[in-house]
């Protein structure tokens, strides 16, 4: 209901939370119940250097669940989907932007998410598109190495795409065992014996390469280099479709960097 009293007003306070999605939902809870929009919402491990009041928001699963249900019920399921996705993106100040969007959406309803020309909404939609686009590209650009007992892969995405890759790869390689290591976010997706789990990992050892693996890698490189037509060479076009930041994890173009 536009024009009615806003849920919260800007206040001189900074929220810190544990960096998890339920933790963020608790920040939303805090904001609504104290009628305060914080200047910033930060993750605990980067202590703010400021004279402002800093409030630590502890993660409470029940509260988080209440907020989650209320977004879906009082606003719309699509809003919950957007908020969940954007939370995993690399958008600057995503927590504050999401909070402001949610406070507006509680007032204006489920239609807000469809006002795609609105500056606040379009920023979130662009972030969502960035993440989903990156996840889609990685479904193709990710390369596995057969390390004997397991397929291993390293990726360095900007957004936290692992949750969005999990379904695709577990269905695709349901009989295999594999590990996808996200170097940027120090996380991994491990799939073995039909079970997938997310892990906190700082590093993985270099996989040992058997002669058989080496020969398939060589075959693939040869195929890649042969399939291009000399008369049509177009490096600009290749870079548009396959940006260089992906190249270092791709067997066939790694040497071109």
């Amino acid at each position: 209901m536009p024009g009615s009293k806003p849920l919260a007003r800007p206040a001189n306070v900074i929220f810190t939370y544990d960096g998890s999605f339920p933790g963020f939902l608790c920040c939303v809870f805090e904001s609504v119940y104290t009628h305060q929009i914080p200047l910033e919402i930060m993750v605990e491990d980067q202590p703010p250097i400021s004279l402002m009041e800093v409030r630590r928001i502890s993660t409470d699963q029940d509260r988080a669940e209440r907020v989650r249900v209320s977004i879906s019920k009082k606003i719309s399921p699509r809003t919950l989907e957007l908020v969940t996705t954007v939370f995993f993106t690399c958008l600057e100040e995503k927590e504050r932007k999401l909070l402001c969007f949610l406070l507006r959406a509680y007032r204006e309803g489920g239609g807000l998410v469809w006002r795609m020309g609105d500056p606040e909404v379009s920023a979130l939609l662009a972030a969502e598109k960035h993440l989903l686009g990156e996840a889609h590209l990685l479904k193709g650009f990710l390369r596995f190495t057969d390390a004997g007992n397991m397929l291993v892969s390293t990726i360095t995405p900007k957004n936290f795409v692992l949750p969005f890759l999990a379904r695709h790869f577990t269905l695709r390689y349901d009989k295999e065992q594999f590990l996808i290591f996200d170097q940027t976010h120090k996380a991994a997706l491990l799939y073995q014996h039909g079970q997938a789990e997310f892990l906190q990992v700082d590093n993985i050892p270099e996989p040992t390469i058997s002669p058989q693996e080496e020969s398939y890698q060589a075959l693939w490189k040869r195929f890649y280099n042969t399939i291009a037509i000399e008369g049509r060479e177009n490096h600009r076009c290749r870079m548009t479709h396959m940006p260089k930041r992906y190249w270092k994890n791709m067997l066939e173009v790694r040497d071109l960097l």
Partner: protein, 439 residues
């Protein structure tokens, strides 16, 4: 001969086939609906499938083909087991989405088809491989074999090769129009029947669920663009094709009937044909709207949609807050995605120029053709201004010499100066002044 050598020879012979998509077969985790590119080669084309020939031995003597029987090149043949294993191992490592198999003709069409089917059966039944498979049928193969192949693969295709029967007779003496169109028709009928079967009985075996496609070579024979897109549009309607691919002819063999070896491939022309193809499939344009017998070739400077818009100024301006989707799709700078977004967004608030920009419309082009809340009807806009905004910057990336290919089009007889232009800016100026007068 070891596997590495075979792979090199058979990839090298398969690379001129344009199609390499994996869209249309919907199996979770296997292929996404929109397809998935695994890499891009140095020529900027997507690498989705392991694109190879079963063999490059061939009894036919098609003039334009690298593998024709009179060409002196190295020949190799995969055994079905080798090929199946290679596919599986590449697929496991996420190098590819599946297999794209074509073949030269050994002994006779039926024998070759049986070899292809053998690979598919190995993959599907022995290795339990459910990735994407695109297979080419061999013109002249028996209907039974085509049916068997269709039940094993996701997409099946017959190449029409050349845009007219006359050229086919000249350049591919062993292939006839009938031998190409009969299987195409059979595939269309079988898929239609199969869709009805699946509606009745969900577990009915699927016949080529990703449909059929075809390819033709552009620039090896004298057909005009108008003839080509008329043919494509007829095939879309008649045979329910998913895609028609256009492949700029790259001279690989010498023959008196073909362009000389040093001819540059007509990439700009190919680009324009693809643009027109998308307009026909996704924007509801008819072939007759884009070209006519009087102007049988595309304008090199403007893409087909802009060209249509400039010649149909009476259709504009279109009010973005009221127009139907079909009308929005006619505006240069608005595509299917932004048209859909405009429809949703305007239900939740009036649209101005700022909103349109955030929705993804390209205002640089669209501004001359639309009305929005803060964008009223303009008094007669300067035609030169519009042309300048719409001129396709890509045209100069393809090289100025490509423009001379369009020399026979009446609108551009004034343009020889463009060929001599030293810089891109000069060429643009030249083009703008000519187009503004001519259109």
């Amino acid at each position: 001969m070891d596997l590495m050598e075979k792979l090199t020879i058979l990839t090298d012979s398969a690379k001129y086939d344009a199609a390499c998509t994996s869209s249309g077969a919907n199996r979770p985790g296997k292929t996404t609906m929109a397809g998935c590119c695994h890499s891009f080669s140095a020529d900027g084309r997507c690498v989705t499938l392991l694109k190879v020939l079963m063999t490059n031995h061939c009894i036919y003597d098609c003039k334009y083909c690298v593998n024709n029987s009179s060409n002196d090149c190295r020949r190799a043949t995969f055994t079905p087991e080798e090929l199946a294993e290679l596919t599986i191992e590449f697929y496991r490592r996420n190098y590819i989405e599946g297999l794209f198999l074509s073949s030269g003709v050994i002994r006779n069409p039926d024998y070759t088809m049986e070899r292809i089917i053998q690979v598919m059966e190995l993959l599907r039944h022995h290795h339990n491989f459910w990735g994407y498979i695109h297979a080419k049928t061999i013109p002249g193969a028996s209907p039974d074999l085509i049916r068997r192949l269709g039940l094993l693969v996701d997409r099946i295709s017959v190449n029409i090769e050349l845009p007219s029967e006359q050229s086919l007779k000249q350049l591919a003496p062993h292939k006839t129009k009938a031998a190409i169109l009969t299987p195409m028709k059979q595939i269309a009928l079988e898929s239609g029947q199969n869709r009805r079967d699946i509606a009745v009985y969900k577990a009915a075996p699927k016949f080529a669920p990703a449909g059929q496609a075809t390819q033709m070579i552009i620039g090896a024979s004298p057909e005009s663009d108008y003839q080509i897109i008329r043919l494509a549009s007829a095939m879309y309607q008649k045979y329910d094709l998913k895609r028609v691919f256009y492949s700029a002819y790259i001279p690989t063999v010498t023959d008196s009937l073909l362009p000389a070896l040093d001819t540059k491939p007509p990439l700009l022309r190919e680009h324009r044909l693809y643009q027109a193809d998308w307009l026909m499939r996704k924007y509801n344009f008819g072939a007759e709207e884009l070209l006519s017998p009087e102007t049988p070739n595309f304008n090199p400077y403007l893409d087909p949609k802009c060209n249509w818009a400039i010649q149909n100024m009476h259709f504009f301006p279109v009010d973005v807050n009221r127009a139907s989707e079909a009308e929005l799709l006619r505006v240069p700078g608005i595509g299917p995605t932004s048209a859909r977004r405009i429809l949703v967004a305007r239900r939740n608030g009036k649209l101005g120029m700022a909103e349109l920009k955030r929705l993804g419309a390209v205002l640089k082009r669209a501004q001359y053709f639309i009305l929005a809340t803060d964008w009223p009807r303009h008094t007669r806009v300067n035609r030169e201004l519009i042309v300048r905004a719409l001129i396709d910057p890509n045209v100069f990336a393809f090289g100025v010499e490509q423009l001379s290919l369009f020399g026979d089009s009446p609108a551009f007889q004034l343009l020889p100066a463009a060929k001599e232009a030293e810089t891109v800016t000069e060429a643009v100026e030249e083009a703008v002044s000519c187009l503004a007068v001519n259109l």
